[in-house]
């Protein structure tokens, strides 16, 4: 099989591979040489199972995620649908932020926490927005965990996308507020609490 690497990620390498008559993505969590082997096996196994389960579970909410074709737990590899679109990291706008906000609140309505909400984990294909990378995701009803998700996206917007941070984050929250079943103002309050826990933080 011919493997072409398309992303050397932090926790997994992503390859584009031929899969029967089409192309597919192979997400391979190869062993981390820097990590203690017991810990490494534990983390890779856990995240692969999590990701595969979540990619399926999320579909019931109407959010678009890649389809899983094949799972190899021994290698910690998931073979899934190839989404041929633009990475949102490169094309972010306040309007996409709005859609992202809607997506995240739909997840949270179903008590799914993504755990790694960065702009590079959203893919735009024509009019459709796809959400990927569920390796750090989990189920939770805690407001704290939902707020953590929002804080992660805020952190990445205010660092990597600082030029359009204010508008995008505002639209993100707007989108979130529109669809959420949870107590929006309480979640926002906890986001501030988490920020205030940061070292030397003084949130006004």
């Amino acid at each position: 099989m011919h493997y072409r690497i398309i992303k050397r990620g932090a926790e997994a390498d992503v390859y584009l591979i031929p899969w029967y008559k089409t192309m597919a993505i192979s997400k391979l969590r190869s062993p981390k040489k820097y990590r203690n082997i017991t810990l490494d096996n534990l983390i890779r196994g856990r995240r692969t199972i999590h990701e595969a389960t979540m990619l399926n579970d999320v579909k019931t909410t109407g959010i678009k995620t890649p389809f899983i074709y094949f799972l190899d737990l021994k290698r910690a590899e998931i073979i899934m649908e190839y989404i041929d679109g633009e990475n949102v990291k490169n094309i972010l706008s306040p309007e996409i932020g709005f859609e992202m906000g809607k997506y995240v609140s739909i997840l949270h309505n179903k008590n799914i926490i993504h755990g790694d909400l960065t702009t590079s984990n959203f893919i735009k294909r024509k009019d459709d927005l796809y959400l990927i990378d569920f390796g750090l995701s989990f189920y939770s009803q805690r407001i704290e965990d939902m707020a953590t998700d929002i804080r992660i996206i805020k952190e990445i917007l205010s660092s990597a996308h600082i030029q359009i941070f204010y508008d995008t984050y505002k639209r993100f929250l707007k989108g979130y507020e529109l669809t959420t079943n949870n107590n929006f103002s309480r979640i926002l309050k906890v986001v501030k609490d988490i920020e205030a826990r940061g070292r030397y933080a003084r949130v006004v």
Partner: protein, 343 residues
Amino acid sequence: MKKIKKKNRFFCLGIESTAHTFGCSVIQFDLVKKKGKIISDLRSIYQAPDGSGIHPREASRHHLDKSPHILREVLIQANLKAKEIDLISYSAGPGLGPCLRVGAVIARALSSFYNIPLIPVNHALGHIELGMMLTECQDPLVLLVSGGHTMVLAFSNKKWRVFGETQDITIGQLLDQFGRYIGFASPCGNKIEQYANQSTKKYYNLPYIVKGNDVSFSGMLTATKKLIDNGYDIFNVCFSLQETAFAMLTEVVERALSFTEKKEVLIVGGVSANKRLSTMLKIAIKRQKATLYSCPIYYAGDNGAQIAWTAICDNISSGTTIKVQDALIKQSWRLDKVEVKWR
């Protein structure tokens, strides 16, 4: 207040007193070559009793006791008289109030008595700026790990932007608080590393908490203390603690690196002296085809040179100085609030 005289080189005195270290340093800056050189650096570190942490009042007394000697010696080694200094800088935050005040008082006194321009410096920024000057890296992703900070940063649009940080205690606090629990004297990082090296390398499961690019260490602190209480082997607990905590840090650095696609990583702060951490980072960073730069160990911990050098950068780019009556301290002065005019 007099201006810095028009000449080819000038001298800047840096005073550092954020936490356990009182340090002074003189840097000579060559205006033609645009290069700085550390011509003297001295420090005295407050030693807390075994098993206890920094007491801010005791530490500030230590600083007061040692400051006249350190100041005198640093000038002698630089072969300068106090009045020949062209710029005085002090660490204005973030840090422990009583300790910061000692540095600020000395800086104000020198400035007003000798009529020398004065400039406040953010301590964390100092770590990064000196690290970049000494390693000569250009546009790095920075891992700042110390008793006061655990942050992954990259520069964009006039500020150092936080890509990831700890959501509770810092890596230095984790090491120190655990170390003190088993009776070490802080700073405990070195001792824990020695113990880990002597262990049988049996790994005990500990909470591995990575949230996006953020980490959390407080659960691990509780878990390691419990292992000790339940009679687990102390060497192996030290080993497991290092393996887990450093793997978390390495993972978030690799995450941020993969996201930002930077080609350089700079590690600064007291914890960067740990060999296991830099070994892990090297492996991860090589995978991302980037290069690891680490601040020389002597300048990894708190020192006066980081203050002096940052002050020079600030002053030559924008001529910043402040009045003596405005030379206050800011205990909670977050790095991502500082506008960096010279980058």
